[in-house]
Each structure stands twice: as structure tokens, then as C-alpha cells.
């Protein structure tokens, strides 16, 4: 039961610390997680933008290359001369020029000038122009005418203008003028592989890719172009922003970042799947939970040890206190730890010692008090009697009754020896009766025939233990307050017998009897006069010694002042009964 209580204390320490750590983690985790995710998202956007700019730069390198090549060709004297269709034919020189230019750029597939009259010059030796198609119907040609001398860029396409060749290219076409008139079209084909390589080389840890939308809205490049075309994959072209600068749109966890190239009209788009970031974060979640569990375990262990260190001494202290409660004043709390509880234990120890001392002191005082009281009570008897006896001795000496003086003095001597000789509080009834007898002898000598006495004690109780000097005061009272007042002869009977494990000692007299007030309890035996002193002393001593179950009872025929008892009246009017436990050692 004590365990259960201390268990509460330890458990509350444990659970409080666990609660705190779990709460901290519970708050910390979502906050950290959301901060981390937003940082991750921000980082990925900036990373994406960086990548996108890089791709843009690479693509622009090719685009700008094509434009500068076309600029060079347009201004080239040989070309100008060739376009004017002057004689002599400068096509060989033009071819050389084209070869020179193409030589610097191995990624150029075709550099072809188509003259309006159907003649053409290419940088390479060709099988010829594809006879089955009229190139003037091709969009690159028509767009170039429409663009009025500005370079036009196609999407990715199959170049079918050269017989027997079907290359995937990006085409730039530009209308050529001679003397203000349309003289031909320049076609520059860039190997599509170049663009595809740039784009496919960009991979964001499998969580993103890059695609390019041409000015005509068709896909220039897409890593899964064929799947997109056949509808197996769909691309969110609505997410593409056709405006200058880099813009990001986020939808369904996908970040679409578009970058428009003003020269080509292409939009480079990077797609980044932030859902993949979440899958990266699952590791973080596992890690976090592991850390959480780790800290919880650590906290548990630490608080277990700490609480044990705290509660163990408290338990010890509690056990000591219980022991103390049961009355073991010698208990000592042995607190081995070094903290406030130890101080508490020290205080407890000091307290127990103090209480123990106090109790011992109290007992001692009580004992001393009792002894002194008893002694005082015993002592109270002496002067009373001594006056009277000494008065009697004086009186007898005066009348010359030497023999009686000797006898009386002898009895008095015995009496005093009895009171002083034995330090023990308890004496046998016989000793007490002897004492009373001696006393009676002295009194008999004083009162002569006026006082008669009889001792009537069962032999069986002679060896019973009684408090000394309890009968004599009763006899004394019977003499002074009962018999002495009587005109005729007085009689005092002292008897003792056993009754139900009690020793009953009766002192009866035929004297005048008690005051009415004392008998009915309206007055006490307060020592207002000599009579009260004796009875209350004896009563107090009996009660002190044997407890409240024992004491004195008085039976008396009420004193009647109007008709005092007559001479020769032997009716025993008063009986004082002492009730004591019957003990024989």
C-alpha cells in the first residue's frame, strides 16, 4: 500500500518528463518538418531555375550561333553576288564559304541557300533535292517569306529536303533579298540531338525533367515525346507561361518553371515533382521518429534513475516515520543520498531524538512527581498524630504514669520505625495491621475505656500487599470524628477479607457519623478540617497506585445534632471501606 503511493510519485515524475519530451518533439517535428519542406521546396525552385538558366544558355548558344551564321551569310559578298544571279556563277565560292562556316559548327547538319530560280548551294555534296516534295510548300520556307528577312525557328522536325536523308533537326530559315527583291531562302539545320542531349542531360534526381515548346505550340523536345504524342503521357501545356523571364507555377505538387527565349520564341519548361521531395522526407520522418524514441528512452531512463534517487530516500524516510509512529523512538533514517531529502532525514533524526528525550524527560518528571506526591501524602500523616501522641505522653508524664509513658513511647517508636524503615511503598496487610495495632494501643492509652477496638482480619489475606499507611488514617478519623464525640464507650472494628480478587478492608465505628453534606457528595473531603485530609489522601494514593477501579466508600448513618447517640449505643454507624486489588507479591 505504501508502494502504491510512492509508485504514484515516481510514475508522475516519469510521465511528466516523458510528456514534456514528447510534447517538445510533437511541436518541434511538424515545425521542423514544414520549415525543412519549405526550404527544400525553395531550394528546389532555385535549383530548378538555375538549371533552367543553364539549359537556356546552352540552347541560346546554338540559336545565337545559327543567327550569327545567318547574319554572316546574308552579308557575305559571294552570297550577295550569287543571289543576284549574275554571271559568272559564284556558287563554288559560296559553297566554300558555307563549308567554312559549317566547319566551325559540327552540329550544323545543313547550310543550304535556295535561290528563287530553283538553284541551290549546300555546304555538303548532296544526292540532290528530294524530288518528291516541293520545298516551297514547307513551313520553314513559307514562314521565312512571311517573316520578311528575320530568322525563323522551327520545332523539331524531320528534314526531308535532301534526297535520301531524313534527319531530325531544328531549322532556322531566313528570307534573302537582293536589291530589295526576294532572291532566296537560307536554311540552317541544327542537329536535333544537340538540343535533346542538353535537355536530357538535366535530371533532378529523377524527380524532374525539361521540355521545350516551340513558338508554334508544338513540342520541340520532350523526354517522352512519343508517349505524349500517342496520348499515353500527357503534358500540362497549360502550365507553360509564354511571357518573358522565368516564371514558376505550382500545381498538384509539380513545379512548372517556364523561360521564354525571345530570339527563338521557344519556351523552355522544367517540371519538378515535389512529391519526390516528400519521398526523400520519409527518411527524415523515420530518422525523426528514431530520434524521438531515442530521446524518450533516454528521458525515461534518466528520469527513472533520478526519480528512484529521489523517491528511494523518501521511501526510507516514510518507513522510518511509520516505525516511529508505531512507537519505536530509536528509529534512525539512514538517507545515503546527498540532497534535500537527506536534510529532511537529518531533521527527522534530530526530531526523533528530541521527541525521545522529551518523552523520557516527561516520564521522569511524572515519576518524580508521583513519588514526591506519595511521599508528601505519607508525610502528611505524621504531624497530625505526632502532636496528639506527644500531647498524650506529656499528659501521662505529668500524672506520673511512667509505665504507660514507656509503653506509649515504645508503641510510638514501633510506629515510626514502620513508617520510616521500609522504603517500599507496598507492605503486607499484616505489617499494616501491626502498625494499626500499635497506633490503637497508643490511642487506647489516651482514651482509656472510651475507646475500644477490635481487629478482625482473615488469615488468608494477611500476606496480601497493601499500600502502607492507609488503614491508620481511617482509624484515626474514626477516633477523632466518630468515637471522640461520643458520650459513652466507642468501638472501632478493623476487618479485612478477600472478595472477587479484591481486598476489602473495612473500618467501622459507632461514632457520631458523617456530615450529611459529605455523604451526599455536595461537599468534598477537601481538607477544610483534619478529617478530610486523611480520607482524601488515602483515596488519592489508592487511585494513583491501582487506578480508578479502586478506592474508598463510606457508609454512614446521618449525623443528627438534635438527638446525638446515647451512651452504650453500640450501633456501628459509620463504615469506611477500602477496596484494593488482591495481590500477593
Amino acid at each position: 500500500m505504501a508502494k502504491a503511493h510512492t509508485g504514484h510519485l515516481r510514475n508522475s515524475i516519469l510521465f511528466t518528463s516523458l510528456f514534456i519530451i514528447v510534447s517538445i518533439l510533437a511541436i518541434l517535428f511538424p515545425v521542423t518538418y514544414s520549415i525543412a519542406s519549405s526550404i527544400l521546396q525553395k531550394n528546389s525552385i532555385s535549383y530548378t531555375n538555375q538549371m533552367l538558366r543553364q539549359v537556356d544558355n546552352s540552347i541560346n548558344y546554338y540559336i545565337d550561333g545559327m543567327i550569327s551564321v545567318s547574319d554572316y551569310i546574308v552579308e557575305n559578298k559571294e552570297v550577295v553576288s550569287y543571289l543576284s544571279a549574275n554571271i559568272p556563277d559564284t556558287s563554288t565560292n559560296v559553297k566554300e564559304e558555307l563549308q567554312t562556316v559549317a566547319g566551325t559548327r559540327p552540329d550544323f547538319v545543313n547550310l543550304i541557300i535556295f535561290r528563287e530560280d530553283g538553284a541551290f548551294v549546300s555546304n555538303r555534296e548532296l544526292m540532290g533535292i528530294n524530288p518528291y516534295w516541293d520545298y516551297k510548300e514547307s513551313s520553314w520556307y513559307k514562314d521565312a517569306i512571311t517573316a520578311d528577312g528575320k530568322p525563323v525557328f522551327s520545332s523539331s522536325r524531320v528534314e526531308n529536303v535532301v534526297a535520301g536523308e531524313y534527319d531530325w533537326v531544328i531549322s532556322m530559315s531566313r528570307a534573302l533579298y537582293s536589291n530589295g527583291r526576294l532572291a532566296g531562302v537560307l536554311l540552317v539545320d541544327l542537329n536535333y540531338q544537340q538540343i535533346a542531349d542538353i535537355c536530357s542531360s538535366i535530371s533532378y534526381n529523377d524527380s524532374g525533367y525539361i521540355f521545350i515548346v516551340g513558338a508554334d505550340g508544338r513540342l520541340v523536345y520532350h523526354p517522352q515525346q512519343r508517349l505524349v504524342y500517342s496520348g499515353i503521357k500527357t503534358e500540362r501545356l497549360d502550365m507553360v507561361t509564354h511571357s518573358e523571364g522565368i516564371k514558376s507555377v505550382i500545381s498538384d505538387g509539380y513545379i512548372y518553371t517556364s523561360s521564354l527565349s525571345p530570339t527563338s520564341g521557344w519556351v523552355t519548361v522544367s517540371v519538378f515533382d515535389t512529391n519526390k521531395l516528400v519521398s526523400i522526407s520519409s527518411d527524415v520522418i523515420i530518422l525523426f521518429f528514431a530520434i524521438g524514441i531515442f530521446f524518450s528512452v533516454i528521458t525515461f531512463i534518466i528520469s527513472y534513475v533520478a526519480s528512484k534517487r529521489l523517491t528511494d530516500p523518501i521511501l526510507q524516510l516514510k518507513a522510518s516515520m511509520k516505525q516511529f509512529e508505531r512507537g519505536d523512538f530509536d528509529v534512525k533514517a539512514n538517507i545515503t543520498v546527498n540532497n534535500e531529502v537527506a536534510e529532511l532525514g537529518e531533521s527527522f533524526n534530530v526530531m526523533t531524538v528530541q521527541i525521545k528525550n522529551l518523552v523520557a524527560q516527561e516520564l521522569l518528571i511524572e515519576e518524580q512527581k508521583r513519588i514526591s506526591e506519595l511521599q508528601a501524602l505519607q508525610a502528611q500523616i505524621r504531624p497530625h498524630f505526632l502532636y496528639n501522641t506527644l500531647e498524650s505522653i506529656i499528659w501521662m508524664s505529668e500524672i506520673g504514669e511512667n509505665k504507660k509513658v514507656i509503653e506509649m513511647t515504645s508503641s510510638l517508636s514501633k510506629l515510626f520505625r514502620a513508617t520510616t524503615s521500609n522504603a517500599s511503598e507496598l507492605v503486607t496487610l499484616k505489617t499494616e495491621i501491626d502498625y494499626v495495632t500499635n497506633y490503637m494501643k497508643i490511642q487506647k492509652m489516651r482514651y482509656q475505656d472510651k475507646l475500644n477496638y477490635r481487629i478482625d482480619v482473615d488469615d488468608s489475606v494477611l500476606q496480601a500487599k497493601v499500600i502502607k499507611l492507609i488503614i491508620q488514617p481511617m482509624v484515626e478519623n474514626a477516633i477523632y470524628h466518630g468515637v471522640k464525640q461520643l458520650k459513652g464507650q466507642g468501638l472501632i472494628i478493623v476487618s479485612a477479607h478477600a472478595e472477587e480478587q479484591k481486598l476489602i478492608i473495612s473500618i467501622s465505628d459507632n461514632g457520631v457519623g458523617f456530615d450529611k453534606g459529605i455523604l451526599d457528595g455536595s461537599a468534598d473531603f477537601a481538607p477544610k478540617d483534619e478529617s478530610g485530609i486523611g480520607i482524601s489522601n488515602v483515596r488519592d494514593r489508592i487511585k494513583l497506585f491501582f487506578g480508578s477501579g479502586y478506592g474508598i466508600t463510606i457508609k454512614s448513618t446521618a449525623q443528627d445534632q438534635a438527638s446525638p447517640p446515647k451512651d452504650g449505643d453500640t450501633e456501628m454507624r459509620t463504615t469506611v471501606t477500602l477496596t484494593l486489588p488482591l495481590i500477593f507479591e
Binding site: 518528291y132 531524313y166 515525346q225 512519343r226 508517349l227 527518411d283 528514431a290
Partner: protein, 337 residues
């Protein structure tokens, strides 16, 4: 612990506690690290491995494109694959033995394009019996209870055949006969296309019995030369790329290019030129790239325990000279590698 004496009794105890806590912390961190980084990889016994058995390993455009699709899907889903196949589509025995070799390697799944829908049934059943999921593509295999594989990814060949037949029917002069050259009569693709072609031509058109090129362009050429001897022949329909190529060569050789109609299947640089020239009037192109891609995707779906359709139609497109360079057609006719 002598050096700790300087700390005194109390200090020593604290030092021991700290040491224990540090040891405990380090061990927990190590365990966590292992749990996070090592265990998943330990549980994962390498990437999924799929063996793809095609009809041929030769440089036929169709199969190259299909292999591209397989490759793209494998990269996308992070799986390992091997592409196997006999040199020739007619080498059925080699393909059968390849199937058994594949089973012995215990891959996670097998993708098969059967060179013969009957003879491959037994090996295909062996794949299933070995507990290996089977996805078929291009040409199916059938057992007594029907389709053996979990999923068949292919062109709906009957529908494709109908497109070819209808194109021929639209151009065919009245009263002229049509010949059909199959590439490999035992395959489902041949059988189904033939059925479709005859549907597309309609009951009124006179169609000669289908002849078998048996996996060889040369045979197709010879068969076409023979067919062209008949002056009533108005058109030839060939059921795959090399049979079409053989017939085109025969037409050009006989000077009948553009005069006798030719409708084929699939494409190649040669067939593209033939189409530009007007020799090949129309061709039904499939999406081999998608077929390869989707076969892998479906195989992965089967491995993931997802429900897959028993048949996935990758579709077909009829291409004529006018539509050659339009959108998807351009990509299909001129595979970009």
C-alpha cells in the same frame, strides 16, 4: 579509471553516467543510421529484373523502336532488363530455347513476343508454372484455356488490318485482284491482320489466298515478283515491314511502281522513300515504342499486384504521303534515336 581519481568519488560517478549516456547515444544513432540507410537496401534485393524476349534482335526499325520503348520504361521505373531474341523472326526453335533459358535465370517477369502462337504455348506455360509473371506483346500465345500471359500489349491487328484493307479498297480500280503477303503465318499478328485486311477489302473484292514470306524479305520479294506476273493484280497488301519492302522492291524492279497499288505495314527509311516516290500508297504504322514501353509498365503493374487489362491496344495509324510529316506520324516514321 585512475585518471578519474582527480574528480573525487562524486565526480567519478557523474563521469561514469555521462560515459554511459554517450555510449548509449552513439549506439542508438548507429542503429538509427543502419535502420534508415542500410535496412531498406538490405530488404531490397536489387532492382526488379525483367527479361524481354522479342521476335528478333536484327535491326528491323519496328523492333529497334520497341526496344527504345522498353529502355525508356525501364529507366523511368528503375528496373533492369535484358533484351533477348533470335536473329530471325522465323527461328521459332531458338526463341523456345531462349524462353527456357530465361526461366532458368529466374527473372521477376518475362515479356514475350511470340514468333508462333501455338508452338510457344508450352514454353509460355512453363514460365507461368515457374511462378514468373508473363506479359506478351505484339504477338500473343494461346493455351487450351486461351491467353496464357497476364496481359497482352499489342496493336489491335484486326483493326489495323481493316485500315489497310479499306485504304486498298478505296484506291483499287474496279475488277482488279488483291494479293496478301504474310510475314509469318503462324503468328497472331499475321493471322489477325489478314482477317482485318479481308474485312476492310469487303466481300466484293477478289482476294488471292494469303502467301507466307516466312520471315524473309527475299521470299516476300520472290512471292511479289510471281504475283505481279498476273496482269489482273491491282494491289498487294503486305502484313509487315520486310514483306512490304520485298514487294516494293519487286514493284520497282518490274516498273510497276505507282501502277500496282501497295499497302503495307510499318515503316523504314526505305519504305518512307517509297512512300514519297509513290510506290507505297499507304502503310499502317504501329506504335512499337509504346508497345515496348507499355509491356514493361504492365509487367511492373503485375509485379506490384495491380489489376491489368488482359489486352492493351497500342493502336495503329494509316499513313499516306500527305500525312507523313504530321505530328506523331513524323515521329513514328522517322524514329529518333
Amino acid at each position: 579509471m585512475k585518471f578519474l581519481d582527480i574528480l573525487g568519488q562524486r565526480g567519478k560517478r557523474i563521469a561514469k553516467v555521462i560515459l554511459l549516456v554517450i555510449l548509449f547515444a552513439v549506439s542508438i544513432v548507429l542503429i538509427t543510421y543502419a535502420a534508415v540507410y542500410k535496412v531498406p537496401s538490405a530488404l531490397n534485393t536489387g532492382p526488379t529484373k525483367i527479361i524481354v524476349i522479342g521476335k528478333t534482335t536484327s535491326n528491323i526499325a519496328f523492333w529497334l523502336s520497341l526496344r527504345d520503348g522498353v529502355d525508356v520504361a525501364a529507366k523511368e521505373y528503375g528496373i533492369d532488363y535484358e533484351y533477348w531474341g533470335p536473329d530471325s523472326e522465323s527461328d521459332i526453335d531458338t526463341q523456345i530455347s531462349l524462353v527456357y533459358q530465361a526461366i532458368a535465370q529466374k527473372p521477376d517477369a518475362i515479356i514475350l513476343a511470340a514468333t508462333d502462337y501455338g508452338r510457344l504455348a508450352e514454353p509460355a506455360k512453363a514460365i507461368i508454372d515457374a511462378g514468373i509473371p508473363l506479359v506478351t506483346m505484339d504477338s500473343n500465345v494461346y493455351g487450351d484455356d486461351g491467353q496464357i500471359g497476364s496481359c497482352f500489349v499489342a496493336t489491335d491487328n484486326v483493326a489495323a488490318g481493316v485500315k489497310a484493307g479499306e485504304a486498298m479498297q478505296a484506291l483499287l480500280p474496279a475488277g482488279k485482284k488483291v494479293a496478301v503477303i504474310s510475314h509469318q503465318i503462324g503468328t497472331t499478328s499475321s493471322r489477325d491482320r489478314d482477317t482485318g485486311v479481308r474485312q476492310g477489302l469487303g466481300a466484293d473484292t477478289f482476294v488471292l489466298p494469303t502467301v507466307d514470306a516466312a520471315g524473309s524479305e527475299e521470299t516476300a520479294y520472290e512471292l511479289a515478283v510471281k504475283i505481279l506476273e498476273d496482269p489482273d493484280i491491282g494491289g498487294i497488301i503486305c502484313l509487315n515491314e520486310y514483306s512490304t519492302t520485298g514487294a516494293a522492291r519487286a514493284l520497282i524492279g518490274a516498273g510497276l511502281s505507282g501502277k500496282v497499288l501497295l499497302v503495307g505495314f510499318d515503316s523504314s527509311p526505305f519504305l518512307n522513300t517509297s512512300m514519297e516516290e509513290g510506290c507505297l500508297n499507304a502503310t499502317v504504322i504501329q506504335r512499337p515504342y509504346n508497345m515496348g514501353y507499355l509491356a514493361v509498365v504492365n509487367a511492373i503493374a503485375v509485379l506490384d499486384g495491380k489489376k491489368v487489362d488482359p489486352f492493351y491496344d497500342t493502336g495503329s495509324i494509316l499513313v499516306t504521303k500527305d500525312t507523313m510529316y504530321l505530328g506523331e506520324n513524323e515521329k513514328l516514321l522517322f524514329p529518333f534515336t
